[in-house]
Each structure stands twice: as C-alpha cells, then as structure tokens.
Amino acid sequence: MARNKTYPDFDAAVADIPDGAVIAIGGFAGPGTPYNLIAALARRGAKRLTCIANTTGGAHKPRMPDIGMLVENGQVAKVICSFTAATRASDVLPFTKYYESGEVEAEIVPQGTLAERLRAAGAGIPAFYTPTAVGTELAEGRETREINGRRYLLEYALPVDFAFIRAARADAVGNLRFHRSQRNFNPLMAMAAKTTIVEVEEDILPAGAIDADDVHTMGLVVHRLIRVPPPPMGLWTRKREAAR
C-alpha cells in the first residue's frame, strides 16, 4: 500500500519548517506560483529564511502572497532571484527598500543559470560552466575557464531544504502534472529539495489514475500534497480570479 501524502491544510504542511531553512518557490508571472503555501509560511513565521524564486514579487495590484511579504514580515535573511528590482524605474518592488537598506541580502542570478543550478542540485552535479554572464559585472572576481575557444563562468548547484510548488493534478503518491506554463521552475525545485510541498488545483486522484507515461514530476521527489479548496474558501485558485 503506497503511503498517502495528502495533508489536511496548508498550515499543517509547513508546520515543521525551521528558522534558517532554504525555501525554493516555483512560479513564473503567476502560473505555477504556490500562493497558499507562501501565505501559510507567513503565518508560520519561521525566520532567517533563504528564499529562491524567479522574482521577489510584483509591483502591481492585486498584491498576491510573495517573497516581498515574507520580507516585510521580517522572515527573510537572503533572496536568490533573477530579479531584485523592476526593469522599469517607475516600478518599485515591495522588496527593494529592504534590500537597499541592507535588511535583506540578495544574490541576483540569470534566469537560465538559476534553473540550471537547481537542476544540477537535483541531479548530483556540484557545479558547471556556462557562457551566461561572462564579461559582465556578475562574473567579476569569479572563476572562468576557456573551453574549446570560448570563455565560461563556473556556477555552483543550489540545493534546497523545502520546495513550494503548485500543480494542476496529483495522485496520492505525488505524481504531478502541470497545466501549460505552470510547469516553469516547479519540476526542478522538486528535484532539488529534500522536502517538496505541493498545492494541487484538482481533487487528488488515487495512485495509478495518472498514467506512468504522462507524469511530469515523479512522486518519488514529492512529499506533501494539499488540495487548493475551491473559491471562496481557497484563496488564489487562479491569479486573475482575485482581480475580478
């Protein structure tokens, strides 16, 4: 009998996250973002966290649960993101003032390098060379190497304690399917993490209901599943529903 990984609610699923944990949070521009788990982590209140995600959260309304909120809550020591400021001067991320005042540390990482550092961590590869960022400020003082006539920058794997991800569908053993661009960083973070926690949009299916050929992320790297309740009970079922 396979172990059922379903948790009753979001708070139970994040109850053991300790101070100082490294948390990877999936999502790209909305799709695949585990808003409910971020909100639960804010309620949990664990501190000195390192948060890994594509961005720290948007400058736009409606405000969704994001790393910026955890920062405002005093829970974050460091973020590792491909955006630590908006590209438009008129947009100011909620996170930015905490970064500029030195309350929070940040490491900016090109998006493909961020993805590959997570992939490497999940794949047992400690480091790799990439052509990305060679010749830029990001490469200053760091190890580069010429291979076959081209210069590459050394990048290290990025292991994770807890991954927060969101999927469309799951079975009881944690096999996952994502819908459309919901996939983004989520499968990589699941692979990179010691513990993967998933908020699931549809009712959790019995084991075997997702055919083995159709699995995007294998249940082997998924530990906790929480069904997102339908609105109005479950907030943020879809980003735009909150706006309507």
């Binding site: 400021a85 997570l118 830029t136 661009s181 960083f185 735009r240």
Partner: protein
C-alpha cells in the same frame, strides 16, 4: 516623422527568415507576436518554456495558466509544446534561438548592450536576458533612440553595467535600423521623413551611411 513602436516591430520582422525560432523579451518586443509574418513560418519561444505561441488572447478567452515572458495570456499555435525552465534554457544556451529580440537602456558601437540595471540602483532585473544575449544566434535590440532628456541611447560604450559583450546584431529605434560596426553604427534604413543629419545629431557616436 519617425517610426511608432509598432512600425519598429514591423521593420524588425522584415529581417526574420522563414523557419526561424524567435525569442521575444519583455516590453516592446512582445508586440512582434502581433505582426503578420506573411508566408514565413516563425516559431516564437518564451523563456518560461512555451514554444510556438501566438497572439495575445482576446479578453475572456485566456487560459490563466498560459503566459509569455511578459506575463501576457497568449494563444498556442498548432504544434506548440511546453517544457520546464531547464529545458527552455538548454534550448537557449544550446544555440537554437535564431534571434532574440530585447529592449534595452543603452546599446554600444562595440556590440555591448545594457538592459538590467539602472544607474545608482543596488538591485537589477536580469530575467533571461543574459542567457539569451550570450547564446542566441542573433541579438536584435528595440529602443527609443534618445532618453526623455534627449540623450543618445546609442553610445560608443555603455555607461550602465552590460548584459553581454559584443553580441548585438541589429538595433531598431524610432529613427532607423542600425548595425554596430565597432567605431559607430552602420545605417541600414531610415524611418520615413527622418534625415541622415537628424540621426547624426541624435547619436553620440558616428553613423556610417
């Protein structure tokens, strides 16, 4: 007279060749997906792993879990596919983007460009720009020729931290189409009603006509 942003997009699209895989960045370049491609078969790639997307959705028809790099809800064209971020950037670093089109703050005669960090800022926004700039076959830049204060965005060397060194192939501005040539920019096309003298007066380095 000069080109509107849509006309800038249309002018760049004339450079696309049949069969190209085209990556579109955030901002101005997203308009390119709305330009008719004629009988050319063009595949749009978004860094979040969407390959073969099309126009922005009509209101009410969106799939809220499907966005392009700019977070816009788009349609999938027949034959589209979706992969995770590591595969998406493997395609990019693997050299499979025939061109990436990006916005920028500055572009330089030596082929450098800057689009991730503003003057005096501690943080920045890189997104996929450094990966794309380093490894796409061509880098096309779309930007206004001058800042709001009238300063040239086409420079001998970038003043802001660069995104990649020596990679820019073509630059379209409201005034014309240019190619970095080392010491200046080679003029490829002028917007209607714009004179060579006006372009030279608006540019902080030589224009080779």
């Amino acid at each position: 007279m000069s080109w509107t942003r849509m006309q800038m997009a249309e002018r760049l699209v004339r450079e696309f060749q049949d069969g190209w895989v085209v990556n579109l960045g955030v901002g101005m370049p997203t308009m390119i997906a709305d330009v008719p491609m004629g009988d050319r078969d063009i595949i749009f790639h978004a860094e979040n792993g969407v390959i073969g997307y099309g126009a922005v959705c009509a209101p009410g028809t969106e799939d809220l879990n499907l966005v392009n790099a700019g977070g816009q809800n788009v349609v999938l064209n027949p034959g589209a596919s979706i992969v995770h971020h590591a595969d998406s950037f493997a395609l990019i670093r693997g050299g499979r983007m025939d061109v990436t089109v990006m916005g920028a703050y500055e572009v330089a005669a030596n082929g450098d460009f800057a689009n991730w960090k503003l003057k005096g800022a501690k943080g920045g926004g890189i997104g996929g720009a450094m990966d794309l700039a380093a490894s796409a076959q061509r880098v096309f830049i779309m930007l206004e020729h001058r800042t709001r204060d009238g300063a040239s965005r086409l420079l001998p060397r970038c003043s802001l931290p660069i995104t990649a060194a020596g990679v820019v192939t073509l630059v379209v501005t409201d005034l014309g189409l240019f190619a970095p040539s080392g010491e200046g920019f080679a003029l490829r096309d002028l917007a209607p009603g714009v004179t060579l003298e006006e372009v030279r007066a608006a540019t902080a380095c030589p224009i080779i006509a």
